[in-house]
């Protein structure tokens, strides 16, 4: 009884802030974002929450087939997959005719203008423009002929006219011979180009909107996608509505084995998108997100660590949830969660023995149980499971949990028992669960005498600290952008240092050489051998403590059809159908 009163008190408190009235039109998909949003600009789209929204508004040349596994690319704004020259250096891409930007005040008559090949080149230049400090520069850096010279000229700065002229100067590797043809010339072979062009970074944006809004473009996104931006109440929610002028698309006719039985092909051939409205609620705290899911205000979401035991037994959903029509979708994340050391930091970056000591002092097994309910694989390196090149048997010697050994290495580092070592700052983003994980790290290191101060900030501030290389030590995850270990390993390539994906600012000549070599050869055993060498170099230098690769358990409501989440397929909302009759019926039970 006693405890129930507390539960009621706490739930009413938690809900007070986020109670939502059911919208009149129920053909809406509601999703709860785990972090606060920073920007809705593809150029700043390196974070998971923003990428949940951006691909609905903006589109790329290619997309991943919604159902097929392993994932397959298919044309989206492109007419077909590119034709590649014999030397593999020149890609010719035809784009679809008649694609229009969404209607917006930025166009002369308010009507969306047709998308031309030049628009893509403009959008990609924007990513490569050093003035924008975009997070996606790494996708083109060193890969496209002439782009680095162009970038260097802009970086020099000068008078506004000069800079503008430098921006408008052509790049030899990015050409548009006519309105519907793009020719990309590579500086060196780059086998992942098609994958990269399917990333939200490479979305097409209208120059008119960027010119009009300037930096405010991130609050006024205009693209070509199936959904138009309607509103964003900062810290609360983003609303998107169906774009009536969308160029169209149909639900796939074929899928992976088992999809037919799972009912994922019931809507085959039907026009997309199904839902009229998408609402993304910013709910960084796990409990209100869960409670909203339980009362049907959100349509799907993960299971917070503290609710796991009450939700799943033996890998199955509990009967009381099944009776409410809820379903479970489990998939492995293509990712690595890690504790990063800032290698640009004068203390941690220069002291290998100290990093080894900290790595040895971290008890990964207990963390896996405590924070992930054992629904995760212990990570030994940045290589992600379920992508070629992952070796489940590999053991990282510094991942052994051994306090005595850790103390020895701490002594070698020059700080016996932690004496003389200043407190290390561990940066986390601000939710209660993150704080608990932070406290866990603090306790682990305290055992060998290393003091840790936890710096907790909101997600946008946290990312800002990483981008400015200010975070001494931090907890974060990297989710693959495309199914390639090269994408995982570029988080350690020196040229993608912050604000790029190399948050730890790791800088190793040996690693860089191997990475550059791996970019030159096609996927295959030789490339995987290089990945393994890079992994070994990583293990030698300990720039991170890799912690886990998570398994995602997603609960979704009975009225949600066609849900098949995958980390790489980011534009899945257009395929999801809300069964409104069933929603009315099931919601009464919640």
């Amino acid at each position: 009884m006693f405890k129930n009163i507390f539960v009621i008190l706490a739930t009413s408190l938690a809900l007070a802030a986020c109670t939502k009235k059911a919208p009149e039109n129920d053909n809406t998909i509601n999703y709860g974002l785990r972090t606060n949003l920073k920007a809705l600009d593809p150029e700043q789209g390196s974070e998971t929450s923003a990428n949940e929204i951006i691909p609905n508004i903006f589109e790329t040349l290619f997309e991943y087939h919604y159902l097929k596994r392993p994932v397959v690319l298919q044309p989206l704004l492109a007419e077909a997959m590119p034709t590649v020259s014999k030397d593999g250096r020149t890609y010719t891409i035809k784009i679809k005719k008649g694609i229009r930007f969404q209607d917006s005040e930025v166009f002369p008559d308010g009507k969306g203008r047709e998308v031309k090949a030049q628009d893509f080149i403009y959008s990609w230049k924007r990513i490569a423009d050093p003035r924008n400090k975009g997070e996606g520069w790494w996708i083109f850096d060193g890969k496209i002929e002439g782009i680095n010279d162009w970038n260097a000229k802009l970086a020099k700065g000068g008078k506004p006219e000069e800079v503008n002229e430098a921006f408008n100067a052509p790049i030899s590797g990015l050409q548009a011979p006519d309105d519907y043809t793009i020719v990309i010339k590579l500086a060196k072979p780059f086998y992942q180009l098609n994958n990269v062009l399917a990333m939200p970074f490479a979305s097409v944006v209208p120059k008119e909107a960027v010119d009009k809004y300037g930096e405010e473009f991130m609050n006024h996104p205009v693209g070509t996608g199936p959904y138009k931006f309607e509103s964003w109440i900062r810290g609360n929610k983003v609303t998107l509505v169906r774009n009536p002028n969308w160029h169209g698309g149909t639900y796939p006719n074929e899928g992976a084995p088992g999809d037919q039985e799972a009912g994922l092909l019931a809507d085959a051939g039907k026009p997309l998108p199904f839902a009229d409205k998408l609402v993304f609620h910013e709910i960084p705290e796990a409990q209100p997100r869960w409670l909203n899911l339980m009362k049907g205000a959100l349509d799907f979401g993960g299971i917070p660590k503290d609710n796991f035991d009450n939700t799943i037994t033996d890998g199955k959903l509990k009967p009381e949830m099944v009776s409410k029509g809820m379903k479970l979708w489990t998939f492995p994340s293509l990712e690595v969660v890690y504790i990063g050391f800032n290698m640009a930091d004068p203390l941690l970056g220069k002291n290998l023995e100290l990093r080894r000591a900290l790595s040895l002092a971290y008890d990964g097994q207990t963390a896996r149980k405590k924070f992930y309910n054992d629904r995760a694989t212990i990570a030994m390196s940045p290589l992600s499971p379920d992508i070629d090149g992952y070796d489940a048997k590999f053991v990282n010697p510094w991942k052994e949990f051994n306090v005595e050994k850790a103390k020895e290495h701490l002594k070698k580092a020059g700080y016996p028992e932690g004496k003389g070592l200043p407190a290390i700052e561990y940066n986390i983003s601000g939710s209660s669960t993150d704080r608990q994980m932070g406290e866990y790290v603090q306790q682990q290191f305290q055992k060998i005498g290393v003091q840790v101060n936890i710096i907790s900030s909101s997600w946008p501030q946290f990312i800002e600290r990483l981008n400015q290389k200010k975070a001494q030590m931090f907890g974060i995850a990297w989710v693959a952008d495309y199914p390639d270990q090269g994408n995982m390993l570029q988080t350690l390539y020196s040229k993608s240092a912050a604000p790029g994906p190399n948050n730890s600012n790791y800088n190793s000549k040996e690693f860089d050489a191997l990475f550059e070599q791996s970019e030159k050869i096609p996927p295959g055993p030789a490339r995987i051998a290089l990945f393994h060498k890079m992994r070994d170099q990583f293990v030698k230098d300990v720039p991170w403590i890799p912690t886990v690769h998570r398994l995602n358990d997603i609960i979704y409501q009975g009225w949600i059809n066609n849900l098949k989440r995958h980390d790489i397929i980011r534009n899945s909302y257009k395929y999801i159908r809300v069964d409104q009759a069933k929603k009315a019926e099931l919601k009464a039970k919640l």
Partner: protein, 290 residues
């Protein structure tokens, strides 16, 4: 009926007498004293020394003979955490309130004593600050200065002085025209002497009441801010942090963390509030001879 005021005791002696005759006040005072004693013993490492000892195998143990209030997520003793949380609360309460009272008293004294432009300026300052919701202001402060005990005391102190400033200002306005002040002026006392030696002691009972009120506000603010993740640094025992953990844990039916933090806070805040009332009754001359 002979009034106690007629016997010619000082205000303070009179107040102490009144307080001692009030059983509720004495109970509250004892509770506060016990809290103080407990936090002193905690701080000096005499009792509850295991507040930071983690044992992950013992996580979420319900209350038992060994752990009276059970254990938390990391297997730490909840009772010990809550007891140590008292230290955090009392530190923040004391320094937060002391800072607020110091600022409020000085500004209020200057405004009330000098009047004119100085008064206009100070009134403008506090009305401006007062238009910003208090909790938002505290949140803004902790955002700028980063979390931590010092920040918390500063943030609370710098945002909650307005009420004190108002009270002291009006009291000074009343006093500056009184005969004893005029007498002091006639004897050649300067402004500072008149403010701090002559008038301030006569308003001191208000300072004390305000301090004690501020104490309760500061304790509550600490809990709210720590709950929101903007209070003391993670890892420091704090009631707010325990309640923040509890909001996740309740679904595991782990209620003891919330219960411990809430009960510890409840008794301290209740005792303080009731004691405040008694203190005001005892010290406010207007309420004498009731």
């Amino acid at each position: 009926m002979v009034s106690i005021a007629n016997k010619g005791r000082s205000l303070w002696a009179d107040a102490v007498l009144r307080l001692r005759r009030d059983p509720l006040a004495m109970v509250c005072f004892t509770i506060i004293a016990l809290y103080l004693l407990m936090s002193l013993l905690c701080a000096t490492g005499v009792i509850f020394t295991d507040y930071n000892v983690t044992d992950n195998a013992q996580a979420y143990q319900p209350p038992s003979a060994e752990h009276w209030m059970g254990t938390d997520l990391f297997g730490r003793d909840v009772m010990a955490r809550a007891a140590h949380g008292t230290i955090t609360s009392l530190i923040v309460g004391f320094f937060g309130a002391a800072l607020a009272v110091a600022i409020g008293t000085i500004l209020g004294a200057l405004a009330g004593y000098f009047g004119g432009k100085i008064d206009d300026l100070i009134v403008w300052l506090y009305t401006t600050v007062d238009t910003i919701p208090y909790i938002l202001l505290v949140v803004a402060f902790s955002f700028v200065m980063g979390p931590g005990l010092n920040t918390l005391c500063l943030a609370i102190g710098l945002t909650s002085w307005i009420r004190f400033c108002r009270v002291i200002r009006s009291e000074f306005m009343k006093h500056r025209e009184r005969e004893y002040v005029q007498g002091a002026t006639a004897l050649g006392a300067g402004h500072l002497r008149r403010i701090f030696i002559h008038i301030l002691p006569n308003t001191f009972h208000l300072v004390l009441i305000n301090f004690s009120l501020g104490f309760v506000t500061a304790i509550k603010s600490e809990v709210i801010l720590s709950y929101l993740g903007m209070g003391v640094a993670p890892g420091t025992p704090s009631w707010g942090m325990m309640i923040s953990d509890a909001k996740l844990e309740l679904f595991r039916e782990v209620w003891w963390g919330l219960a411990a933090a809430t009960l510890f806070m409840f008794f301290l805040v209740l005792a303080f509030t009731l004691f405040n009332d008694a203190l005001r009754d005892a010290l406010d001359p207007k309420l004498k001879n009731r």
